[in-house]
Amino acid sequence: MELSLPILSLLIWTPILGGIWVLYVGDRQEDTVKLFSFIVSILVFIISVYAYSQFDNSTSQFQFNEFREWIPVFNINYHLGVDGIAFPLILLTTFTTMLVILSAWEVIEVRISQFMAAFLILEGMMIGVFASLDAILFYFFWEAMLIPMFLIIGIWGGPRRVYATIKFFLYTFLGSVFMLIALLYLYSKSGSFNLLDLHQLPLSLEAQKLIFIAFFLAFAVKIPMWPVHTWLPDAHVEAPTAGSVILAAIMLKMGGYGFLRFSLPITPDASMALDGFMITLSLIAVVYIGFVALVQTDMKKLIAYSSISHMGFVTLGFFVGFAIFANTDSSSGAVIALEGGIMQMISHGFISGALFLCVGVLYDRVHSREISSYGGVANTMPKFAALMMLFAMANAGLPGTSGFVGEFLVILGSYQANFWIAFLAAITLILGAAYTLWMYKRVIFGEIANDNVAELKDINSRETFILVILAIVVLLFGIWPAPIFDMMHPSVENLFQHVLQSKTG
């Protein structure tokens, strides 16, 4: 289906131009700036919903294609398009950014226009990452994103923000530059940066392994996988609430998206050869990081570690497929695991975002993230306690919430590969419940711990609105995840069929 409207360009450039305008207006008119930013983010969300209405679920082809020459001397093009894997993530981005901008309404007091502008520009770049079909365009957005995030953590962050943001920047930058070398190597072989060309490029197993490792460095840092996860807890703890939400809900997903768009289809043989390595790292993340989360005393840190653990599930779902295929000789199990991984990414976007917002709500009132500063919050903030309960349950993977769907599918798939993989992965259901609910119990239940808690006011209508919307989404996709599966199924099927074909020949 050809659309005359350049819908993806609109999605990318509307927020960026809006952000520039906000920067131009500056802090002189705070209310106008906030309102304008919110309207822009709603507009972008509406465009993405319109795109959803036009999205064709029956095909694995890329849709809404746009193609323009950008740097003709090197065959670099402004080439956009989305399939069923990228598009849900774009919807997640537009949805989350809208809520994040609303969440910062009264919280951010200094340099509000720069704050709003940073988030709008970041939104455009994140959509650009998901929509790029040209490797250099992808890298362009991928790296450019670091600039607003660096500033968001550094300007509006907590006490150790400088350390955290420089660590975040250098860590992700170091990972990404190796991806750049891999892309340049692929270009020297194929003469093209078009991802679809690169997907078809034959490569020897040796070359594939090196490229796989280069991609791995970029994506494993971003998602992040054990043992390159150490930037994440620091960045999350120091970032302002809105920054943590974007980081957890969307930026981590880029690592996962990178595995699906680059590692698996460009280096399928290396992915198959190294799947044991990937599965091992994923399981370490799931189990070991789960235990690490258990002993955290800082709520944000706890959720950060829980994110790493959940991302372990995502990578497990992506790479366990080879073993499933080898055992069952059918691709259905592998597709289930892959879809479980993607579903986990999306649902984690909602749940972790919501949990960070909940911590933000408490932090705004008490200015502490320590679990020990709280206790008995349910007595003073009943509405809040009820909503957070739902998100905590979802984080633990309770059936009926979106957190359950992804985890269940990944475990179901893994079981066909190896009992022990499924067993270890399933430990997360216990661990997740343990660390989330234990935190919840210590913060929310019990006697009122101190005067601060006694003086707490329940969430206002703005906060209620944000959390209720998230709650609805978490329940909706927990009970009826079909819209997401319908969207991604042809693309995932196609991806796995592609991955099964050896490129070494």
Partner: protein, 477 residues
């Protein structure tokens, strides 16, 4: 065949204009030497126009193959003149603010530009050397012009002694080449080397090559011949540092290409190895030592050394597109360096050089727009998209990968990550720290405008780098 004189019209006119400027300056009585400055700016504009008008599109030789006009020389001359135009503007603002305007600065500057133009068009060993010396001698005296300043005098002395040493090395290498080949023009040397030489002769050639590479490395400031760079950058008045770090780098690129590619392309396998060592050492030493600097001019000096290491990557690949990558890199570097020193000039005031890192503290509060310009400059130097500095690094790394030196590319990118740290620190100072005092920044409207345009060029070129890339590629094809 064009009349030979036509090819050198821009140089001749510039020579005449520079001489007139020298005389005119004695008649310029105003404290600020407005007349000399305007005349020099107009001279450069005339030369730019002349280059457009008289330069042939093809490759033409003149004066018994001593002088060449080819697409590369035309592009380089244009860039040198345009950059010098902006640099003189920044310098004038600086000298005016510090009440130290001397007409000789601009006259010597014009002679330096002439030297650089001759280097760009040199087709023989002799012309290269003449152009280089004209440039160097002008620079020595420009640094020494602040005769009351101890650091400036020291810098001038150091630069003179080390520069003379480097010239001596280069000259020694040139004499070796001449001894072996019996010709001075690069075309002749190239065909001599191409015809195949016996082992003894080859040793002589390579022996000469070593000294030539040393001379080039000195002039570029590549490790281990970099000792002069930090001291000169720090000691010189900012106006001169600004000049040294921009246009002469482009001329040094021209010299490198003329000698190594036009003359000694057949010795590629010999000089490639030497340049790899120079490049790796420069990236390592430059990026690591820059981290510990507290003086921003000194930090930028080490950053220059690191950038030279990157710049050499394109030359190492030994292909026309690799050279184009280096050319792109050095032009981009000149624009970024110009802006960075422009910022230092912008923040400085009478009797006070804003050359400490702490001078940038809290700039985002004092002046959000100019903090943003500096942010652009620093991220561009670090090589982060969407800024042009990213494409410069991208281009040379792409060439190195295409030639199969993936390991070299991997080392280079690791150093670029290390290098990102000290650029980030400046952004940290500007955006995350509080200013010591909320002083208003006082700078002329023209300076504000030029600095803003400088920053915007870096941002906008980052989105549309294709044209400049194509220009560099066509200049070297």
């Amino acid at each position: 065949m064009l009349p030979q004189i036509q090819l050198v019209i821009p140089e001749l006119v510039l020579l005449c204009l520079a001489s007139i400027a020298l005389v005119l300056d004695t008649y310029s009585t105003s404290k600020n030497k407005v007349l000399t400055f305007r005349f020099v700016q107009i001279s450069l504009l005339i030369v730019i126009a002349l280059i457009f008008v008289v330069s042939p599109d093809t490759q033409e030789y003149a004066f018994n193959n001593h002088f060449i006009s080819d697409p590369m020389s035309v592009v380089l001359k244009l860039v040198i003149c345009i950059i010098s135009l902006v640099v003189f503007f920044y310098s004038y603002e600086y000298l005016k603010e510090h009440e130290n305007v001397k007409g000789e600065y601009f006259v010597l500057g014009l002679f330096a530009v002439l030297g650089m133009m001759i280097m760009s068009s040199a087709a023989s060993l002799l012309t290269i050397y003449l152009g280089l010396e004209l440039l160097s001698l002008s620079l020595y005296s420009m640094i020494a012009m602040h005769k009351d300043s101890l650091t400036a005098s020291e810098a001038a002395m150091k630069y003179f002694v080390l520069g003379a040493l480097a010239s001596g090395m280069l000259l020694y290498g040139i004499s070796m080449l001449y001894g072996v080949t019996g010709v001075l023009d690069l075309q002749g040397i190239s065909s001599f080397a191409n015809a195949g030489v016996d082992a003894d002769m080859n040793i002589m050639l390579v022996f000469g090559l070593v000294f030539i590479v040393v001379g080039i490395a000195f002039k570029l400031g590549a490790v281990p011949f970099h000792m002069w760079v930090p001291d000169i950058y720090e000691g010189s008045p900012t106006a001169v540092t600004l000049f040294i770090s921009t246009a002469p780098k482009i001329a040094a690129f021209a010299m490198t290409i003329r000698l190594l590619s036009d003359g000694l392309q057949d010795l590629l396998s010999d000089w490639q190895g030497m340049l790899i060592i120079l490049s790796l050492l420069s990236m390592a030493v430059g990026n690591i030592i820059a981290i510990s600097q507290t003086n921003i001019k000194r930090m930028l000096a080490y950053s220059t050394i690191a950038h030279v290491g990157f710049f050499l990557l394109g030359i190492i690949s030994g292909t026309a597109s690799g050279y184009a990558g280096s050319m792109f890199y050095i032009i981009v570097y000149a624009i970024m360096s110009m802006g960075s020193f422009g910022m230092i000039i912008f923040l400085g005031k009478k009797g006070y050089e804003a050359d400490q890192l702490d001078d940038f503290k809290g700039l985002a509060k004092r002046s959000p727009w100019y903090a943003f310009i500096m942010l652009i400059l620093m991220f561009s130097m670090a090589g982060i998209p969407p800024l042009i500095g990213f494409w410069a690094k991208w281009f040379v790394i792409k060439e190195v990968v295409a030639m199969g030196y993936v390991w070299l590319a991997a080392v280079a990118v690791v150093f670029s990550v290390i290098g990102a740290f000290y650029y980030l620190r400046i952004i940290k100072l500007m955006y995350f720290d509080e200013p010591d005092e909320m002083l208003a920044i006082k700078a002329s409207r023209e300076l504000r405008l030029v600095l803003s345009v400088n920053g915007m060029v870096i941002l906008i070129l980052g989105f549309i780098p294709g044209a400049l890339m194509a220009l560099c590629l066509s200049a070297l094809s």
